[in-house]
């Protein structure tokens, strides 16, 4: 069975190539958007981006009874979102459209999900022999397509090792395939938004763009990413168990693997320890070479070479390289050793504050 996507599917999933081809035939041009016959399309396009900014979590709605407008307003919305030249708006819009698609895909049968997936070039098949196949799965996806889209998921059921995989195909339920497609769609739209259309916008559209930028400023202000501030002196007692082990091993001159040295160095640098102190830490190592150690520490600190400061390994990566000694209570639910460190520091500070005065 091989279904073709219909026009009403295009209205739901206007980013698939067939839909894009169809829209091209409509002769919709950026500079013609001021023409009155396109008004409904332009309105809906503005509405799509607005919804992305005004809903939380962001999601564009689906207007079932107006397929033509629903379909052709998508590329116009992309132009508008791109024209804001604001990464926050672009990201949020891409996510909102992807969540719209996921919501619709979840209600489809496996055949429809299969067709949309194929539109993105996925190597995907329907599980035909359900009797012999592992139960409950409807689709099977090439592991490379699976890995490309699973990155944002941290739940253990999404780890490749916890999936059923045979002959390079990962078995999925239709829901799971839809969820992975959400990621593919989000990236696809984000890539589409990397265009600069500002110089060719007609005045009415340019005005819309300005309004959207205003909404974003009013609603979200300037978005500050949390600046991580750690005490000037690294507090060894607040290190997570993995880093504590590595730290003690380095201090006592025991051999550390390459991955171990990297994990320790990048953690210490991010916890605010100066490179020279880290070099000193490795001094008692059996194969210590000052010049080499200094070079490597400074490289990880981003003072040399590519000038990028390396972020420390996350818990998952520490486990891969055999550097995680096993979870402590405080590790539960955490994904990064620096989060453990921050939390422990906060706990220490809190317990200090709450201590009665006569015990200080």
């Amino acid at each position: 069975m091989n279904l073709v996507l219909t026009k009403s599917d295009w209205a739901k999933y206007p980013f698939v190539p067939e839909a894009t081809e169809y829209i091209k035939t409509l002769g919709l041009k950026v500079d013609s958007l001021s023409r009155p016959e396109f008004e409904p399309i332009l309105d809906r396009a503005e509405g799509r981006v607005k919804e992305a900014l005004l809903t939380n979590p962001p999601k564009v709605s689906y207007l079932e009874h107006n397929e033509e407008v629903e379909l052709s307003s998508f590329p116009v919305a992309v132009v508008i979102a791109a024209a804001t030249a604001d990464d926050f708006i672009k990201k949020r819009y891409a996510l909102a459209e992807a969540r719209r698609a996921y919501d619709l895909l979840r209600r489809e049968d496996k055949w429809k999900v299969l067709e949309v997936a194929k539109a993105f070039g996925w190597r995907v098949n329907v599980v035909t022999d359900e009797a012999s196949a592992p139960r409950g799965y409807q689709l099977k996806l090439h592991f490379v397509d699976f890995l490309r889209n699973v990155k944002a998921f941290h739940e253990s059921n999404w780890k490749l090792i916890n999936r059923v995989m045979l002959g390079g195909e990962v078995y999925l339920t239709t829901y799971e395939a839809a969820r992975l497609l959400q990621e593919e769609i989000r990236r696809h739209i984000e890539a589409k938004l990397r265009i600069d259309v500002r110089p060719i916008l007609p005045p009415n559209v340019a005005q819309m763009v300005e309004e959207l930028r205003l909404i974003r400023r009013r609603r979200f202000g300037k978005v500050y990413t949390e600046e991580i501030r750690f005490p000037k002196e690294a507090v060894v007692e607040a290190f997570p168990p993995c880093i504590r082990n590595l730290y003690e091993a380095a201090a006592s001159g025991s051999h550390l693997s390459h991955a171990g040295r990297f994990a320790l160095t990048s953690f210490l640098l991010n916890a605010g320890m100066p490179p020279s102190k880290i070099v000193d830490l490795f001094r008692s190592s059996s194969d210590f070479n000052e010049r080499m150690t200094r070079y490597q520490v400074e490289h990880i600190a981003g003072l040399r070479g590519s000038r990028t400061r390396y972020t420390p390994y996350a818990c998952d990566t520490l486990r891969t390289h055999g550097l995680c000694p096993g979870e402590e209570n405080l590790c539960r639910g955490l994904r990064h050793p620096l989060t453990y460190y921050r939390r422990k520091l906060r706990m220490k500070a809190a317990s200090k504050r709450s201590r009665p005065a006569d015990q200080v």
Partner: protein
């Protein structure tokens, strides 16, 4: 009086590259690869080299005669530029299995450490501190012994099995080679895996090493809602389900009480397992032992499974596979620590591959060496040693192994 060891090794390496550099073949898209060479002189690493064709690579090898020769698993737009300007376009998927990561009982016999402070010597893995002078700096000498290499081969076979069955690569797509020292390389050059980033490769590593496996996703569960009886995977299941079952089967078949207690199982549980071994083994004919043993609940099974998974997983070097800029030894070049070749062979011939025969580069001539100390070893069908403070006339390949390992000097 001894001739300079190093100049002897280099003269032999030169002979090899002069006569046999045509054996070195171009990796696919040679013009996009970075090459690196460790030189004899001062052990300098020459990196960021690029070649347009295989002939210029071969003539370079003849000209510089390297101790080690490498190429990048990665493909670059500009391989000769510094790292940050190379322009990464992709990388082959590489696996490294090294005997160093596999504990074998013979390491205690043939691996030697020497304290850099006082020269005190010992065998096996070096201690925290030198028992004589308390220093912590040691020189380690490992040995490519048959037992260790056989253990590495077993791991390689497990890896190949996972790549074939679970990942669906074909025999021809999986390239296996002996590293020339203490292990095996396995790699895949297919287009579809080239642009996998480090995070995706990490997931592949976790799959192969069994890291993060949770048995509840592989069929270990309550027999029905609210039931306290468990069901679990079967021996014949495919993928990790089958491996879990087979790992647990082997473990329960062989483990004695002491081993089981080490898994954190309660003493009465261990006793039940040991006393009912026959029943447990027979249980695999139907549903398996999952719901069979009183007192062995979900947590105990998870501990048993963890151990079983460890035996079924392949012990690969996790860093090599996740490093998308890695330099890899070039096939059909000499390994400077042994004088043996890195050689490739077909996947289905892995069992018959004999590193001490198939990787021997020097097939003619004898040389007399003075051997300080060396364990017994074999080249082709002939066994040599063990040696201690003696002179011996050896075939060049055998002598080179000892010379490269720093265990002998050329006698004149």
């Amino acid at each position: 009086m001894t001739v300079d060891r190093e100049s002897f090794i280099k003269s032999k390496f030169r002979e090899f590259y002069e006569s046999s550099s045509s054996m070195v073949e171009a990796p696919p898209s040679i013009e996009m690869r970075e090459f690196g060479f460790l030189l004899f002189k001062d052990r300098v690493m020459v990196r960021h080299k690029g070649f347009r064709d295989v002939e210029s690579l071969r003539s370079f090898l003849r000209q510089i005669v390297p101790l080690h020769a490498y190429y990048s698993a990665a493909y670059y737009a500009a391989p000769e530029e510094p790292m940050e300007r190379k322009g990464w376009v992709g990388a082959d998927l590489y696996f490294d299995i090294d005997a160093d990561h596999i504990p074998t009982p013979c390491q205690k016999v043939h691996d030697v450490w020497v304290c850099r402070g006082c020269g005190f010597k010992g065998r096996g893995t070096p201690p925290e501190r030198c028992p004589l002078c308390s220093q912590r700096r040691f020189e380690e000498k490992t040995w490519p012994c048959e037992v260790c290499l056989e253990a590495a081969k077993r791991e390689t076979m497990k890896l190949v099995d996972i790549l074939l069955k679970d990942f669906g690569f074909s025999q021809d797509e999986i390239k296996v080679s002996f590293s020339g020292h203490r292990g095996y390389h396995v790699h895949i050059e297919k287009d579809e895996i080239k642009d996998l980033d480090s995070a995706a490769r990490k997931e592949i590593v976790d799959y192969i090493t069994g890291t993060g496996l949770d048995a509840k996703f592989h069929g270990l569960e309550a027999a029905g809602e609210g039931s306290r009886v468990l069901v679990g995977p079967h021996l014949g299941d495919s993928g990790w389900r089958g491996r879990i079952a087979r790992g647990v089967y082997d473990l329960l078949l062989k483990a004695d009480g002491e081993h089981l207690e080490e898994l954190g199982l309660r003493r009465n549980v261990v006793k039940t397992i040991v006393e009912n071994r026959e029943v447990i083994i027979r249980s695999w004919e139907s549903g398996g032992p999952w719901g069979l043993i009183r007192g062995v609940g979900l947590e105990s099974w998870k501990a048993i499974i963890r151990k079983g998974v460890e035996a079924q997983a392949a012990k690969i070097d996790t860093v090599v596979t996740t490093d998308i800029h890695r330099l890899i030894r070039l096939e059909n070049t000499l390994h400077g620590k042994t004088g043996l070749l890195k050689v490739g062979f077909p996947t289905d011939k892995i069992e018959d591959f004999d590193p001490f025969k198939d990787a021997v580069a020097f097939k003619r001539g004898e040389v007399t060496v003075f051997i300080e100390e060396a364990p017994e070893f074999r080249i082709w069908e002939e066994t040599y040693g063990p040696f201690k403070g003696e002179k011996a006339e050896l075939p060049v390949a055998a002598a080179l192994l000892l010379l490269c390992k720093g265990m002998a000097e050329v006698a004149q």
